[in-house]
């Protein structure tokens, strides 16, 4: 990439950072530090605003650059991967969004403790929420480092180090000064930018092919060198049976994990009612679905226009497919149009990272302060100080994320996103669904289902090829590999559900019928909702 690209991209990065810092300052000027304000942004966002914020929270740089790159390199299998991210929203819409809005206050644990023993359940749910957030955050930080280095053309470690530190510092500033309100507005701005960029590129690709999608597919298949098999599954996930099972495991984790992601659940508390929560999800599904449809066009477009060889030559994982496509669509590397489009795409990718990490940091600090600290401290702190704890927790999360991000800088952490979804699906979803829908669920069942999903997921990953025993592992030297799949979801999700059931049926404590009645009535009617 030439100097012009870099200068313009850096300029646009700076503009975005300035805008987001402006939002944060503006938001923090007039507001008092109540928990309602910090965790839920005052709960007065409209469904449309929240829908954009959800989309902004959910669509990471991995979606924008990663999935289209995957399609550009492996054709259909990239599309196969993206479907799970969308279908997952039906679980959220049907089973989670409205009920969580009605029953909870700030976190996942709030929903569960309404009918359970408070302390053990809060600690369990808080622990798993923080685990999911940290896994996801580290994946984003490492991705941010290599992405910015890639887009700015810097190959040295210094660019990556400073990107990780800078992204970490910015997210801490957004969250600790602006809380949920600033985070939400940053996500809305990002979602608008991302959708705008995707629409513009999609239109340019379709114009190039005179709106003929069939022609686009045929050119992509021909240029890929794989012929028609480029348009069928199998190039990426169709290896031996272990690889195929691995993809099924990943697909299951994606579709069930979204409903257990703490930063997604916390978004439903920013709207006034369950109806508004439902309508925000409808908006989000529209935006996310539209976005992934456009990624299909962009991915095949990159394969047809740039060609897989050029994409692979720039970055083996395909992350630069869309920037290269933008360069070509704008008129080529030497042209002004190409330079501008490239810089815009780079800036959007950067905005995407910042918005996503801010959302995760906020959810993680909410779990630390509202669930863990509130359960482990002595009973003397006032609610006011909980927000102070949450701000401190945001700083702590930032420090941990920067440290892990730097440590893992040169490691292959692509599995972390799938793992975060798998942990969310194994530890968070069972306890959430059981407490919303199962009459006889008990405290022991709740605690067991969280740990019964969390521990197997983590242990299986440690024993899997992503950590040891293969050339691509984190520690290729060691060999602890006893579990063949890279994603533990296929085993750990059923275990989470099983553990919750087992804990409940072996529990001596009788089910709390009044507690169940209260949860059910509140969940479906909204009575007593905050």
């Amino acid at each position: 990439m030439t100097g012009n690209h870099q200068t313009l991209a850096l300029l646009l990065f700076s503009v975005f950072v300035a805008i987001t810092l402006g939002i944060t300052t503006w938001v923090s000027r007039h507001r008092h530090g109540s928990a309602e304000e910090f965790y839920a942004g005052g709960r007065l966002f409209s469904p449309m605003e929240n829908g954009f914020a959800i989309a902004g929270d959910y669509m990471s740089a991995a979606s924008f650059l990663g999935i289209s790159g995957l399609i550009a390199l492996f054709g259909y299998d990239g599309l196969l991967y993206s479907v799970g991210f969308l279908v997952a929203w039906l679980v959220v819409l049907f089973l989670v969004a409205e009920l969580v809005r009605n029953c909870g206050r700030f976190t996942l644990a709030d929903v569960v403790v309404s009918r359970m023993g408070e302390r053990p359940v809060r600690i369990a749910a808080g622990t798993s929420s923080v685990t999911v957030s940290v896994l996801y955050l580290v994946a984003q930080m490492v991705g941010a480092g290599s992405l910015v280095a890639l887009l700015l053309g810097g190959t040295g470690g210094a660019v990556r180090t400073w990107t990780v530190v800078g992204v970490g510092a910015l997210m801490v500033v957004y969250v600790s000064f602006g809380g949920m309100r600033a985070t939400t507005w940053i996500q809305i701005v990002k979602a608008v930018l991302l959708m705008g960029g995707a629409v513009a590129l999609t239109v340019l690709v379709l114009l190039r092919f005179q709106g003929d999608f069939d022609q686009l597919l045929r050119t992509a298949a021909q240029r890929s060198g794989h012929g028609t098999s480029f348009l069928a599954p199998g190039l990426r996930y169709g290896g031996d049976w272990t690889a195929r099972l691995d993809f099924i495991s990943l697909g299951l984790a994606l579709v069930l994990g979204t409903a257990g992601l703490p930063h997604i659940l916390s978004r439903f508390y920013t709207v006034p009612t369950a109806r508004a929560a439902r309508r925000s999800v409808v908006w989000a599904i529209g935006l996310i679905g539209g976005f992934y449809l456009m990624t299909i066009v962009l991915g095949f477009g990159a394969a047809a226009i740039v060609g897989p060889d050029a994409v692979r030559g720039s970055n083996a994982a395909g992350n630069t497919a869309v920037p290269l496509l933008a360069l070509d669509l704008g008129g080529g590397a030497a042209s002004t149009g190409g330079t501008v489009l490239f810089a815009v795409v780079a800036a959007i990718a950067f905005a995407t990272i910042l918005a996503v990490v801010a959302g995760i940091t906020l959810a993680s600090s909410a779990s630390v302060a509202h669930d863990l600290y509130a359960s482990l401290r002595r009973r003397r702190a006032k609610p006011r100080s909980e927000v102070a704890v949450a701000r401190t927790a945001a700083v702590g999360t930032g420090v941990v994320a920067i440290a892990l991000g730097l440590l893992a800088r040169d490691l292959n952490v692509a599995f972390l996103v799938g793992l975060a979804f798998a942990v969310a699906a194994s530890a968070n979803l069972p306890v959430l669904l059981y407490s919303l829908f199962w009459r006889n669920f008990t405290t022991r069942g709740a605690v067991w289902s969280v740990y019964g999903g969390l521990l197997p997921a983590l242990v299986l990953v440690v024993l899997s090829p992503v950590v040891t025993g293969s050339p691509d592992s984190l520690f290729p030297g060691a060999d602890l590999q006893y579990f063949p799949l890279e994603n533990p979801g296929l085993v750990s999700i059923p275990l989470g559900f099983l553990a919750g059931w087992l804990g409940t049926v072996t529990s001596a404590e009788p089910p709390d019928e009044a507690g169940h009645a209260e949860t059910e009535v509140r969940a479906l009617t909204g009575a007593g909702a905050v």
Partner: protein, 162 residues
């Protein structure tokens, strides 16, 4: 995809989130569907104000009105969830286990896999629309009535209990 919200998702809602809490259920009929039949009120009686708040929830839970709302909700989401989960798992398993079937051409460069993949997008949008419509027409109004009734009862219970 604002269409999912029905033709009446106008400016009022976007600018005024309170519209929701205050007017949910009313003015929602967009002419495309019949209003849900009225549900009998949960409580007409006021003499049980002395009951503990916990009992209120048990009582509301047993009321015909609540059971009706719950079964309307469950009759939609349980089959709906089963359908989309089976359809998704079937899609993923077929794509990984039988790629040659998925590679069969349908029209031009479009093959079975492409149709199935875009079909997943389409069914997701359709189910979203269907769920939002079902909730708006069949559940919202009854749920809101129950909400006010329940809140009034719990307030009464809390006041009378002291």
């Amino acid at each position: 995809m604002e269409k999912h919200d029905g033709p009446d998702s106008g400016k009022v809602r976007i600018e005024d989130p309170w519209y929701d809490a205050l007017a949910s259920g009313w003015g929602e009929l967009d002419g495309t569907g019949a209003p849900a039949p009225a549900v009998p009120p949960a409580h007409g009686r006021r003499e049980d104000r002395g009951a503990r708040a916990a009992d209120v929830y048990l009582e509301v839970q047993r009321s015909a009105a609540f059971q009706e709302v719950r079964s309307r909700y469950r009759r939609f989401v349980i089959p709906g969830t089963a359908v989309f989960l089976l359809w998704y798992v079937g899609y993923v398993v077929t794509a990984t286990a039988a790629p040659s079937f998925m590679a069969r051409p349908v029209a031009g460069a479009v093959n079975v896999a492409m149709v199935a993949g875009l079909g997943q997008f389409l069914t997701t949008f359709l189910l979203t629309w269907a769920y939002a419509r079902h909730a708006r027409l069949r559940r919202d109004r009854a749920a809101l009535d129950l909400r006010w009734d329940t809140q009034e009862l719990t307030r009464g219970a809390a006041g009378g209990g002291r």
